[in-house]
Each structure stands twice: as structure tokens, then as C-alpha cells.
């Protein structure tokens, strides 16, 4: 009961936070130099003032700023994210078209990274000082420190160009006309490289975090007690150490989950993955205000939602934590 009222209160707060974010984003975007009319006129290669004025009028950019804000917020309140004049489609359609691709990619990377990361981190902590530990630490450090796009490009060069095992770009084989199970297989093949590349970076973070956190817990008195009781080492690691060390990992996972919708701009760009991250990046370059605001809106909502979920997960993992 207490939990439910906590969640309800947080949801109400979330609505106000979201509105504040919408207004802030609205002004932030307009603070950037150049507007969509200028960009589109520029792309047309030639433009007179009439053309630019026409575009501004079409986009509603000729109206005073506070009117534009009112129109936009009014739309958002009714969950209408507006129209992308550049792409000539409603923003909601554009975003929800791309959302599945991004969720598939970031979701897979999320699962890979958290499973592998915690496993490797725990292993390293359990064998601290041994060669396994050193190896895991070095690998984690390398993947943490290497730029993502470089890993991506190297992976493409090795697995697509040299070995020819995996497709290097896109989400499925264009024009192959696969359906059903074949199509699923095809998408999975395309998923391997981008999801792994993206996952490796977060895996490295989870591994380092888990290891550090576990080492800290290992020195605590209750662990010594457990050891003194003569419990088997595996059981101590799993139940006493890992369970207590996992809270910071959950915090980080909550942050990563919040970014799932924001997408992975670099990975999606390098692998030509048709997701939200690229949509956002293009919208930014083209000053496609409504679309960019739409992506920001959806991803902020996700961040808020996952913060809430994270809080609830804390209480499940550690009953000592109370929600108030």
C-alpha cells in the first residue's frame, strides 16, 4: 500500500518535471544558431526571401516566441507532439516507427552488458590478484577507454570485410524478401555486431563497478563471520557479497535503462541502424524543432519512468530500503 502511494506521488511529480523539461528544451533548441527554414533553404541550393518567409510561415516560426511555446505545450498536454514539416509526417509516427529498432538494439546491448559485466566483475573479485582478475581488469579497461565508433569500425572491418561472417550495416537484408523465422534470423545476424559493440562499453563499466563494490563488501565483518561459520566460498560470494554489492550496479542499470530510448547515436550511425538516435541527430543538424523536441520528450519520460522503476527494484533486492 505504502509502495503504491509512493508510486502515485512520484508519477504526479513526474508530470510537472516533464512539463518543465519541455519548456526548457523548447528554449534551448531555439537558442542554437540557425532555424529549420534556413537549413531547408540552404539545402535547396538557391532561395529567395519569399521562399524562406514561406517556410517560416508554414512552420509557424513567424509568430512570437510565447505563442509558439503555448501552441507547443498545448499540444504536448494532449500528447500531440506536432508535425515535422521537414519530413512531412507527424512526429509521433516518426518516433514510434523508429522506436522498435532502437529498443531491440539497446535492449539487447543492455542484457548482454549487465549479464556479462556482473559475471566478469564477480569473477574478478572472487579471484582478486590472480591472473583471471588481471585479464578481466585489462579487458574491461580497454573496452571502457576505446572510443565506441572505433571499436565498431574495427568490428566491421574484421567480421564483415575480412571474414565476411556478419553483415556490416542495416537492420535486415534489403530486398531479400525474407519472412517469418528466416526474417528473425536475418535481423538477429544484423543485430550481433551493433549490439555487442554497444554492449561492450557498458559491460566494461559493470565489470569494474561490480568488482570494486564486491571487494569493498568482502572486507566487512558479516562476510568474515560467514567465512568463520565455514560456509562454502561460492555461497558467500553469491549470497553475502554479491547481493550486498549489487546496489550501485542497479543504480547504473537504471541510468542505462533510461537511455535505452535515447538510443545510441554513434552505434546507430556507424551501423546504419534505423533507430531513434539517428533520428535525433539528423533532427538536431536540420533544426527540425518539433521532431527533436519529440525525441527529447519521449526519452525524458523514459528516464523519469526508469528512475521510478529503479527505486522499486532497490526495495526488492534490499528489503531494508523503504519507499517514502
Amino acid at each position: 500500500m505504502q509502495k503504491l502511494s509512493f508510486i502515485a506521488k512520484r508519477l504526479v511529480k513526474a508530470v510537472f518535471v516533464l512539463l518543465a523539461i519541455v519548456v526548457l528544451n523548447f528554449f534551448l533548441i531555439r537558442a542554437a544558431p540557425g532555424d529549420p527554414a534556413q537549413v531547408m533553404a540552404g539545402e535547396a541550393g538557391a532561395a529567395d526571401e519569399i521562399f524562406i518567409a514561406q517556410l517560416r510561415e508554414q512552420f509557424g516560426l513567424d509568430r512570437p516566441l510565447h505563442e509558439q511555446l503555448l501552441v507547443y505545450v498545448g499540444g504536448i498536454v494532449t500528447l500531440d507532439m506536432g508535425y515535422s514539416y521537414r519530413q512531412q509526417q507527424p512526429v509521433a509516427d516518426l518516433i514510434f516507427d523508429r522506436l522498435p529498432a532502437t529498443l531491440l538494439l539497446t535492449g539487447t546491448a543492455f542484457v548482454i552488458s549487465i549479464l556479462l559485466g556482473v559475471l566478469l566483475g564477480a569473477l574478478a573479485a572472487a579471484r582478486v590478484g590472480q591472473w583471471t582478475d588481471s585479464l578481466i581488469t585489462v579487458v574491461a579497461l580497454v573496452f571502457y577507454a576505446t572510443p565506441l565508433f572505433w571499436i565498431a569500425l574495427m568490428a566491421i572491418l574484421l567480421f564483415s570485410v575480412q571474414l565476411g561472417w556478419l553483415p556490416g550495416f542495416g537492420m535486415e537484408s534489403v530486398g531479400a524478401g525474407y519472412s517469418g523465422f528466416q526474417r528473425v534470423l536475418d535481423v538477429l545476424q544484423h543485430l550481433i555486431l551493433p549490439a555487442t559493440t554497444l554492449g561492450l562499453f557498458f559491460m566494461a563499466i559493470y565489470a569494474r563497478l561490480t568488482r570494486a563494490s564486491m571487494l569493498e563488501v568482502m572486507d566487512m565483518d558479516f562476510v568474515k563471520t560467514a567465512r568463520a561459520k565455514g560456509l562454502p566460498p561460492g555461497r558467500i560470494t553469491r549470497l553475502h557479497v554479491l547481493r550486498n554489492a549489487i546496489l550501485p550496479v542497479i543504480t547504473l542499470a537504471g541510468i542505462q535503462a533510461g537511455q535505452l530510448v535515447g538510443g545510441a547515436v554513434l552505434t546507430e550511425t556507424v551501423f546504419a541502424w534505423p533507430g531513434i538516435g539517428r533520428l535525433m541527430f539528423d533532427a538536431l543538424l536540420q533544426r527540425d524543432y518539433n521532431l527533436l523536441l519529440g525525441v527529447f520528450f519521449v526519452s525524458s519520460a523514459m528516464v523519469i519512468l526508469f528512475n521510478l522503476v529503479t527505486d522499486v527494484v532497490y526495495t526488492l533486492v534490499d528489503p531494508r530500503i523503504e519507499l517514502k
Binding site: 542554437a32 544558431p33 540557425g34 532555424d35 534556413q38 537549413v39 531547408m40 533553404a41 540552404g42 539545402e43 535547396a44 541550393g45 538557391a46 532561395a47 529567395d48 526571401e49 519569399i50 521562399f51 524562406i52 508554414q58 521537414r86 519530413q87 512531412q88 509526417q89 516518426l94 516507427d97 523508429r98 529498432a101 569500425l153 566491421i156 572491418l157 564483415s160 570485410v161 565476411g164 553483415p167 556490416g168 550495416f169 542495416g170 537492420m171 534489403v174 530486398g175 550511425t269 556507424v270 551501423f271 546504419a272 534505423p274 533507430g275 539517428r278 533520428l279 539528423d282 543538424l285 536540420q286 533544426r287
Partner: protein
């Protein structure tokens, strides 16, 4: 009496066109039908309705869907497309076009003269900023019958025969658009043209698919069954897509220039710089003529002497293109190289700077944010300028910021390139005439150059008749500008089109891949 350069000439044009367009193949082998072509498109076009959107990627895809009355060979001579013949009266003010019979829109409706009148006089007048300027010279456009259209000009307009390229005057279907809101018509998402390929599907962010138009008005064409345009945002990934055989064609600008040679060296890989003759992209440095040392002609001349333009061409652009002598591209009509020349000569540059008493004021240089090639080019220019003692600060922006800075004249030197559209009146005049000085566009007289003599020459040359009269006016114009250096001309760009050698007849007109793949076929 009408001067009939029409039927016999048109017949000859058809014949030459037929040979010109398929010459290599005709000698070697018959085109094969069938096959799928995979092409890179970058960036993803905002829309495919060519009458509403005219940016590069849109033209490249939609050039397969839409057509205009004429096409142009690589010497910029008109060849028939939807018009089979044309005639002009003696004083060059009345042009009559005969349209091809039996042409249908992709939805089966017949294409008639009424569509031409609607497209040129109603639709494009509202939506097409570039064509609108040319249409101002036209008194009336009438359909005499279903297959005859007459354009009556207010006075002779030299470039008139050059405005019928598909990106300039695409034919749009009257029966779909008449009486609607053109820009927001839902029909824009399912473009209907008369072209060799029909729009099939567009998976945003992934690919655009076009299929063969079985009812195309040229018997036996097009040869390809399908075209896939792949949206691949990263330049290195585009190179990989070609390397791994996923795409057959990398249109100009798809990959970074330093990658070109490596890709061309692959097996079964060809490259051409052709197909840009109509656009004739002319790159230069905007020089803000209003402020600081740039207001002094000698400073601008010093910049010209300081620049090692041959180096840029050879190293940054792989030897493709040509070093320009002035405002008019050597590919464009009325080009004249009898003007003051500026070879790379740092000593002359230093002497000019000393003579004018340049005080070492720092100059802001705005590169074009179009990728690595342009960044490297900006660095080369900075080095050239620093060699002669001009202090340069680079200003980094994205495309929108670049637009804004140029629109508001907030720059000292800035990179750009503009298309010339085959005629100085269309693609050159706009940069130098003083009536085009207006804030709010990066494509007019941004440098703020005003010279009454130049204004007069451009105005008179646009409507002078016949061509000899235009030539002498344009020659004088080029001589004056090459002395004044309102902007610093850098390069006549040829963007390399990289393709598999078994793709035949890919580029054979003056607009290259933008003209659609009506003649292309696969020798597989």
C-alpha cells in the same frame, strides 16, 4: 515565319541522342534487361516530391520518378525527353514544344499539355524558388492542343532552353494537385510521375525502393527491374557497403575523398567525374567585401595569389576538377579564359599586402561543415594564407550555424560552392549583382559586392539576342570580375561517381545520376 530548328533538328537530335546516350554500349553490346541496382543515398531526402523539395538527395532519387520536357547531353545540348520537338520564332520570344504521345502518369492517367501548363505556370511558380526567377521572363504558357505547348517570353531570355532539366522543371500531375495545398498534400508521400521507375516503398532510415515502370513511354526501357537506395549515414560505412558488394554505386560525395582511390583500386571498380556539367559546382571563398582589409581589392587579389589551388585539386580532390579562372565554370556556356590569371605566387601576395599596408588583422575563416574533405581543404587554405602573413582563425560550426553566419554576414572568409545551371544568367549572376544583396540567404550576393557596370552587363546579357551578343557582354563581365575578385574562386568541382564496371551507361547526361537510371543496365 518560324525558324524551324525543329523537326529536322529534332530528328537529328534524337539520332545523336540515341547514339550519344548509348554509344559505348551500342558499339560493344546490346543492353541486358533485368537486375537490381543498389545505390547509396546520403543524407536521407526529406521528401521525394520533386516539385516541392529540390535538395540534392531528393533530386537524385526522384529523377527516376519525374521527368521534364528535355534532357541535356554532356555538352549541354538539349535532347528530347517528354518533348519530342521544339521551335522558336525569329526574335527568340515564342517557343513551341511538341509533346510525346502516349505518355501516361504512374497512375495510368494520360500526360498532356495541360499538365505542362499546370506544372510550370501554377505549381512550380508557387513552390520552386529557383525556377520562379526564370519564369518572370515569361509572358504566358498555353496549351494549344493536347500535345502542343507554347511559351511566350516578354523579351528574349538567353537561358530559356536550359530550364527544362528535371530538377528545374519537373512535370507534376495536374489531376492530383490542382486546387490543393501543394506543400502539405498527402500525395507527396506517394509521388506520381511519368518517369522510368515508380515509387514502391520507403522504410525511413533504411531504404527507398523504386520499381520498373512497365508502361514507360520508351519501348524496352528502363532495363533495371528495381532500384534500392540505401540510407547509410556514416561515410566509412558507405565505403564498407561498397567494398562488401552490398551497393553498386556510390554517387558523388558519398565517401570521403581520401577513400576514393582505395575503392577505385578494388576489382571491378570504376570511377567517373562526369555528370556534373549542368550543375558545374563552382567552389569559392566568400570574402566579406564590406569590412576590414577584405574591403581592399588588393587584399582579395593577394588571397588569390596566396592560394595553391593546384595543390588542393591534386591532393584534396584526387586530381578531379579544374582550377577556375573566374566566376564562370569552364563547363558553362559563355566561359572565357581571356582574363587576369592568378597562379600560386606567395611573393606577389606579400607585395600586395605590403602595398596596401595590411596591419595583420586576424581573419575568421568558416569551413563548410560537409565532412573531412572540406575540413582538410580549410586547413590547406589557412596554411596558404599564413604563409603570406595573413592571420587566420578557424570558426567551427554545424550546417545550421554556417547558414546563419552567412545569412547575417557574420564572417570574413567562408567556404561554399554553388551550381551554375548551364548558363551565367541562371547560376552566376545571382552571386554578383547588387540587387541580390539581402540578409537571410547564404546563396545570394553574400559578399556584398556592388558594381553598377557588372549589374548592367548581367542584366543586358540575360536578354541579349542572339548568343554572340551575350558572349561579348559576358566576356567583359568576366574580365572585370577577375580583376576585382569579389570572391576567391577555388575549384570547379567534379564529384567522383564510383561504380562497379559492369554497371553500364550509368552517367551519360549533364546531370549524371540525378537524371535517373533510364539508360543504365547491368552486364551480369
Amino acid at each position: 515565319m518560324l525558324k524551324r530548328f525543329c523537326r529536322p533538328a529534332a530528328l537529328a537530335a534524337v539520332l545523336t541522342a540515341a547514339t550519344a546516350l548509348t554509344a559505348p554500349a551500342a558499339l560493344a553490346e546490346e543492353p541486358k534487361s533485368g537486375g537490381v541496382m543498389n545505390v547509396v543515398i546520403q543524407p536521407e531526402p526529406p521528401g521525394l516530391m520533386l516539385g516541392v523539395t529540390q535538395n540534392g538527395p531528393t533530386q537524385m532519387v526522384a529523377g527516376n520518378i519525374y521527368e521534364s520536357l528535355l534532357r541535356y547531353d554532356t555538352d549541354l545540348n538539349p535532347v528530347p525527353s517528354l518533348a519530342t520537338a521544339w521551335e522558336v520564332n525569329d526574335d527568340g520570344t515564342v517557343y513551341t514544344f511538341t509533346l510525346k504521345e502516349g505518355v501516361t502518369w504512374h497512375d495510368g492517367e494520360p500526360f498532356t499539355a495541360a499538365d505542362v501548363v499546370f506544372s510550370a505556370d501554377v505549381f512550380l511558380r508557387e513552390t520552386h524558388p529557383r525556377l520562379r526567377v526564370s519564369l518572370e521572363h515569361i509572358e504566358s504558357i498555353e496549351a494549344l492542343d493536347d500535345t502542343t505547348v507554347r511559351f511566350t517570353l516578354k523579351q528574349p531570355f538567353g537561358p530559356f532552353m536550359g530550364i527544362f532539366e528535371v530538377g528545374t522543371m519537373p512535370m507534376v500531375p495536374k489531376h492530383i494537385y490542382e486546387g490543393t495545398d501543394f506543400k502539405n498534400n498527402p500525395a507527396n508521400n506517394t509521388p506520381i510521375g511519368t518517369g522510368p521507375f515508380k515509387f514502391e516503398e520507403w522504410e525511413r532510415g533504411s531504404y527507398i525502393r523504386l520499381v520498373k515502370n512497365e508502361d514507360y513511354h520508351v519501348e524496352g526501357q528502363p532495363y533495371l527491374d528495381e532500384i534500392y537506395w540505401h540510407v547509410i549515414p556514416d561515410a566509412a560505412s558507405r565505403a564498407v557497403a561498397y567494398e562488401t558488394g552490398k551497393v553498386d554505386v556510390l554517387p558523388g560525395g558519398s565517401v570521403e575523398n581520401f577513400d576514393v582511390q582505395r575503392l577505385v583500386d578494388l576489382e571491378n571498380s570504376c570511377v567517373t567525374g562526369k555528370g556534373w556539367e549542368y550543375f558545374a559546382p563552382h567552389a569559392w571563398l566568400w570574402v566579406n567585401n564590406r569590412e576590414g582589409p577584405m574591403a581592399d581589392k588588393r587584399f582579395r587579389q593577394a588571397i588569390m595569389y596566396a592560394l595553391d589551388r593546384d595543390f588542393a585539386k591534386e591532393v584534396i580532390w584526387n586530381g578531379l576538377g579544374a582550377v577556375p579562372t573566374g566566376p564562370v565554370s569552364s563547363k558553362t556556356r559563355f566561359y572565357d579564359d581571356d582574363v587576369r590569371q592568378f597562379p600560386h605566387d606567395p611573393d606577389k601576395a606579400r607585395a600586395l599586402l605590403e602595398e596596401m599596408g595590411y596591419d595583420g588583422t586576424e581573419i575568421r575563416l568558416l569551413p563548410l561543415p560537409y565532412g573531412e574533405t572540406w575540413q582538410r581543404w580549410a586547413e590547406a587554405v589557412r596554411q596558404n594564407l599564413q604563409e603570406v602573413g595573413i592571420e587566420v582563425e578557424m570558426v567551427a560550426t554545424d550546417v545550421a550555424g554556417w547558414n546563419q553566419k552567412l545569412n547575417e554576414w557574420d564572417y570574413d572568409l567562408a567556404f561554399t560552392y554553388l551550381y551554375q545551371y548551364g548558363d551565367p544568367a541562371l547560376g552566376v549572376a545571382r552571386t554578383y549583382i547588387s540587387s541580390n544583396i539581402a540578409k537571410g540567404s547564404p546563396w545570394n550576393n553574400v559578399q556584398g559586392y556592388a558594381n553598377e557596370e557588372i549589374d548592367r552587363l548581367f542584366t543586358e546579357a540575360a536578354v541579349a539576342f542572339p548568343d554572340e551578343a551575350r558572349q561579348s557582354l559576358y566576356t567583359e563581365m568576366q574580365q572585370i570580375l577577375a580583376e576585382e575578385i569579389p570572391v576567391a574562386w577555388l575549384l570547379e568541382i567534379e564529384f567522383p561517381t564510383i561504380y562497379r564496371c559492369d554497371v553500364k551507361d550509368l552517367v551519360d547526361t549533364a546531370i549524371g545520376v540525378n537524371d535517373g537510371f533510364v539508360d543504365a543496365w547491368l552486364d551480369r
